[in-house]
């Protein structure tokens, strides 16, 4: 009898030990594991790091592809989508211009990404805060655009302006009224816009900003297309 009890005891001890050693992972643990390794922004971050080191058609294509991937994941999130559109716009500009791109372009790309990452990872951030961060990056984007145009005017690139049909340079200046107008007008527009912002509700303000950004991006594409066309013609 005593022997039997001993055996039972021993067996239960072994069972306990085995249970302890080979217990199943709790559901929480497994979920965490997937979350850390598979964040949707991980690929985008990696590509941006590689662009810090090397700007080629290959790395820029990787960036643009990765942006598309992330757009798919966040297709419901307008704020994140806008961030991604900014990234894509500057990315295309750098890819098209390479060494002739404005030196600040990669800096703005990194700044936009950092803001995007903070917004995407911070679950607790309010919508208003997110919009604020987005608007800050839009501002930097617009400033970069101004600098690009100023630089072009300063350099007075003859290949672009001389001997080309008048229609070509004109669209660049006309079709980007929102951002490419002279600094003064721009400043006035900005103060008026800011005044309007103060009056709007957060949703209205955001919709307005989104509309602005869409205009900027459309204009950017037009300018880019015009530039590429002229570049091809000058060759």
């Amino acid at each position: 009898m005593a022997q039997q009890r001993d055996e039972d005891n021993f067996r239960s001890q072994v069972e306990d030990r085995l249970d302890h050693l080979f217990q199943e992972d709790s559901p929480e643990t497994t979920e965490e594991h997937i979350g850390l390794g598979e964040h949707p922004l991980k690929g985008l971050k990696a590509v941006l790091l590689s662009i810090d080191w090397e700007i080629t058609d290959s790395t820029m294509d990787s960036l643009l592809n990765e942006i598309k991937n992330v757009e798919y994941v966040y297709s419901d999130d307008k704020i994140i989508l806008t961030f991604l559109q900014l990234l894509g716009s500057i990315g295309r500009y750098v890819k098209a211009n390479k060494g002739r791109a404005h030196p600040d372009a990669t800096r703005v790309i990194n700044s936009v990404y950092e803001a995007l990452e903070r917004v995407a990872l911070n679950e607790g951030m309010s919508r208003a805060e997110k919009e604020k961060m987005l608007l800050e990056e839009v501002g930097k984007f617009k400033k970069l655009k101004e600098q690009v145009v100023l630089r072009k005017l300063e350099k007075k690139e003859p290949a672009v302006f001389e001997g080309t049909p008048p229609a070509a340079p004109a669209p660049e200046e006309k079709e980007i009224p929102v951002t490419e107008s002279p600094a003064q007008e721009e400043a006035q527009v900005e103060t008026r816009a800011e005044a309007r912002f103060a009056e709007m509700s957060p949703h209205e303000a955001f919709a307005y900003a989104l509309e602005e950004v869409k205009n900027v991006i459309r204009a950017e594409f037009r300018a880019l297309r015009a530039e590429i066309k002229l570049w091809r013609e000058s060759k």
């Binding site: 662009i51 810090d52 080191w53 090397e54 700007i55 790395t59 390479k98 060494g99 791109a101 030196p103 372009a105 990669t106 800096r107």
Partner: protein, 144 residues
């Protein structure tokens, strides 16, 4: 004076730079590199001699020592590349807190040393260095 080399490239003894060549070199360094915000750019030979150097007037360094060390460094690293079966490395770059330094071969005899800060990203700098290198190769060819 037409000829730049006094003897063949292998075992060559002297390289003579005409004022025209040096002006062209300075123009390339200024336009392609200094103008985009690097702190200084120096063209040296693999013996450690300085051919031409330009800086932005703010960050001054002991360039003669840097040139000697850069030539030695590049030579050492190139030898290492050979030892691991590589023909050459495509990037030799040292990252500091405020100043970074990038080395790039311009033909087998010359080296471009660029010192830059946060104003320029490495990726962008490499694009500009590639552009400058192509132009410099044209200037450094004998008979140019």
């Amino acid at each position: 004076m037409d000829k730049q080399y006094i003897s063949d490239t292998d075992g060559q003894r002297t390289y003579i730079f005409t004022p025209a060549q040096l002006s062209k070199i300075e123009a390339v360094l200024a336009e392609d590199l200094l103008d985009v915000g690097v702190h200084s750019v120096t063209l040296i030979d693999m013996a450690g001699n300085i051919i031409s150097t330009m800086d932005n007037g703010e960050n001054k360094h002991d360039l003669y020592s840097l040139a000697a060390l850069a030539a030695g460094n590049f030579g050492a690293v190139s030898t290492m590349a050979g030892l691991i079966g590589e023909e050459e490395f495509s990037l030799l770059f040292h990252k500091g807190k405020k100043e970074n330094i990038h080395f790039s071969k311009v033909t087998d005899e010359f080296l471009l040393i660029t010192i830059f800060g946060k104003e320029v990203s490495l990726g962008f700098l490499r694009l500009k260095v590639a552009e400058a290198t192509e132009k410099l190769v044209g200037v450094l060819k004998p008979g140019s």
